[in-house]
């Protein structure tokens, strides 16, 4: 950040934006975004289609200009110190595309030449890391989507990046490839790098990332570590019991639950976020005391996907 943030390696933030805004005519694609991505973590940037995820990434990387606001990458204000900032940034934006008539290795040579001289020496290691060393001599036009995706990651790695920004990196990967990508991201983070992952595959993000930001209609509506965010989300208590209707009426009368729904095999009780564990014991006690046989009682933590849908749907309701 030009004014507020510390610069260079002193800054605790790999990415920091303040009131970042980008418009396309009358459409506000990025609407006053304040984002802070801590260094050394995997950070998920989530949002529905058209929420402005890719646009924000494009602005950060200098692929398009911002209309207002300030931003920094690795503590360097961009676009003022764009060259210094991007020297240690690797990114895939949208679908990774390359010169189809060149081999994967030649494409990387082209990109390495645009980076520092040492980048050329990292080509083989990068190809090996993404499992493409044996196909490096093949023309990219013969690559599958998943292979191009891997080559895109290799293109990021030749710059020995401190920050990787990956836009939908799981696209086109088979399940094994997704697992490898997930492992690689975790390994990169373990090396001290920061990975910003834009995706709508919430399950993958939950399994890969430490922190997330939710973007909708161009604005960041929530951000923070996943555990903290989900801690505030509601908990569903699944109860397998006799006489579900009677059980429901007992619980509704007490008012501990947000909702109590009768399902085929019992009840689904939604408890507010942050509900103490003792409440669950109280529920069991009330049911047993009311003559209901309880066969099973299982608290289910809200998944990132459910939470995401709750958050975004609440916004929709507000509108």
């Amino acid at each position: 950040m030009m004014t507020a943030a510390r610069t260079g390696s002193d800054s605790p933030w790999a990415v920091e934006t303040r009131w970042l805004t980008k418009r396309f005519g009358s459409i506000v694609a990025v609407d006053g975004v304040d984002l802070r991505v801590p260094r050394g973590c995997a950070f998920g940037y989530l949002g529905p289609n058209g929420a402005g995820k890719t646009t924000l990434i494009r602005v950060l990387l200098g692929l398009t200009h911002a209309d207002a606001g300030e931003m920094s990458l690795l503590g360097h204000a961009v676009p003022r110190h764009r060259d210094v900032a991007l020297a240690r940034v690797g990114a895939i934006v949208d679908e990774p595309r390359f010169h189809g008539h060149l081999s994967g290795r030649q494409n990387l040579q082209l990109l390495a030449a645009a980076r520092e001289p040492a980048a050329r020496g990292r080509i083989d290691a990068s190809l090996e890391r993404v499992g493409m060393l044996h196909r490096g001599a093949d023309r990219v036009s013969k690559y599958s989507m998943g292979m191009r995706q891997r080559l895109g990651v290799a293109a990021c790695l030749i710059g020995d990046p401190q920050l990787l920004i990956l836009d939908e990196p799981m696209n086109g990967l088979d399940p094994a490839g997704m697992q490898e990508m997930r492992d690689m991201i975790r390994a990169l983070v373990a090396e001290g790098r920061t990975v910003v992952l834009s995706s709508h595959l919430l399950d993958e993000v939950e399994r890969t990332c430490d922190a997330v930001a939710i973007v909708d209609h161009g604005s960041v509506i929530r951000q923070g570590p996943i555990r903290e965010l989900l801690a505030g989300a509601s908990v569903t208590l699944r109860v397998d019991c006799s006489h579900p209707e009677r059980a429901r009426s007992l619980l509704v009368g007490i008012g501990v639950a947000v909702t109590v729904a009768v399902e085929a095999d019992g009840l689904a009780i939604t408890l507010p976020g942050g509900t103490p564990r003792d409440v669950i014991a109280d529920v069991a006690r009330i049911l047993v005391g009311g003559g209901i046989s309880v066969y099973r009682l299982q608290p289910v933590q809200t998944s990132l996907e459910s939470w995401f849908l709750q958050v975004t749907s609440r916004l929709g309701e507000r509108e």
Partner: protein, 381 residues
């Protein structure tokens, strides 16, 4: 799931000092960048085949056919080389087609990164966009200049080594490849043949030409009435020299092969034309962001607009006509060549100074380069 490190917590950071050692913000492209741009263009098989076919293939095939025909039927088909072949191929083929292939290369170099999605990858490296643009210039010229040079060398070689050794002028066998001075000397040495057989006008001398006139020259009496005194040797030589001078223009066209200075001038002129086509195409391709439209515009400029502008005088707009780059490069054409855009020997060119022509060419090159670079620097990637 690992926990998020506390803000500012030290992490094992990769080498953070390395970027300060490279000057990726500099607009000057590095050698490695130029080399990889060269590689990227050279690996375009279709484009390279087209370039080679047009710059080398067309003149080679044309000359090979002429060589073959002359070898099979020398009486019917003249030598493959010679001055006329040279001028026809250089001013008629290499000039126009050289421009078009150069424009093709330029438009390709200017647009493919964008159309093939590599521009985004390159911008993300942090490398100066101006450097990315400028790297294409030496890379493209490194491909183009040798190709044009090879094609031109083939033409020169055949025109020199497969040129006629003698020329027949009205039945006289005249040695080929002489300069005007050499022709004058040769004519003086063969005064009677020259005076009697070569066409000439106003030759104030009666020369005995034997029993009958054999050529269209000044009819010269066989037994001059009232002038029993035969002309002296010196007079004959002087008249023959004069006749040779009158025939020089025709002889020059039949020159055995072009002079070295003409070949050098022509080669530089062709390279200039190709460089102009490449640089303008590069700027236009970068400006438009796609190859096809840019290339069509370049072809229209070279094949339609420039010949029209060269031939048609538009009152009050002659300065505008002079501003067309093809008019300027045509002005710099070596004098011994026929007009590059045809015309059956007539010269339609506007009168202008060489300085003006050079200024117009520089303005086109610099102007289109600035436009292309500006668009590349401001374009959304």
């Amino acid at each position: 799931m690992t926990t998020v490190p506390e803000a500012g917590a030290p992490a094992t950071q990769p080498d953070a000092m390395a970027p300060s050692r490279d000057r990726r913000g500099s607009p000057i492209p590095t050698g490695a960048l130029i080399a990889t741009r060269f590689l990227e263009l050279r690996k375009r098989r279709g484009l390279m085949i087209t370039l080679v076919l047009v710059t080398i293939g067309i003149p080679s095939v044309f000359l090979a056919v002429r060589l073959l025909l002359h070898a099979v039927a020398p009486a019917t088909y003249g030598p493959a080389g010679g001055y006329q072949t040279y001028t026809g191929l250089t001013a008629g083929v290499l000039y126009t087609f050289g421009f078009i292939v150069a424009a093709t290369l330029g438009c390709t170099a200017g647009s493919v990164d964008l159309s093939e999605g590599m521009f985004r990858h390159l911008v993300v490296t942090g490398r100066s966009r101006l450097a990315l643009y400028l790297a294409r210039i030496p890379a493209g010229l490194a491909i183009l200049v040798p190709l044009v040079a090879i094609g031109f060398t083939v033409v020169c070689a055949v025109c020199v080594f497969a040129a006629p050794t003698t020329l027949s002028l009205n039945g006289i066998s005249v040695p080929a490849g002489m300069s005007q001075t050499q022709l004058d000397t040769w004519a003086a040495d063969h005064a009677t043949e020259v005076i009697c057989d070569l066409p000439s006008t106003n030759v104030p001398l009666d020369v005995p030409c034997g029993t009958a006139p054999t050529g269209p020259g000044p009819r010269i009496s066989t037994t001059p009435p009232g002038n029993p005194v035969a002309p002296s040797e010196a007079e004959l030589r002087a008249v023959a020299t004069r006749v040779a001078q009158q025939n020089w223009t025709f002889y020059e066209r039949q020159f055995r092969y072009p002079s070295e200075s003409l070949m050098i001038k022509t080669g530089l002129w062709l390279e200039l034309e190709a460089a102009v086509g490449f640089l303008v195409g590069l700027g236009l391709g970068s400006l438009l962001g796609q190859r096809t439209v840019a290339l069509v515009l370049m072809i229209v400029l070279e094949v339609v607009l420039t010949p029209i502008v060269i031939r048609v005088r538009i009152p009050h707009l002659e300065n505008l006509e002079r501003a067309v780059v093809g008019v300027a490069t045509a002005h710099l054409e070596p004098g011994q060549l026929p007009l590059a855009f045809g015309g059956g020997g007539r010269d339609f060119r506007l009168t202008e100074s060489t300085t003006t022509a050079i200024c117009v060419i520089l303005a086109w090159i610099i102007g289109w380069s600035i436009l292309g670079a500006w668009r590349m620097m401001t374009r959304d990637a």
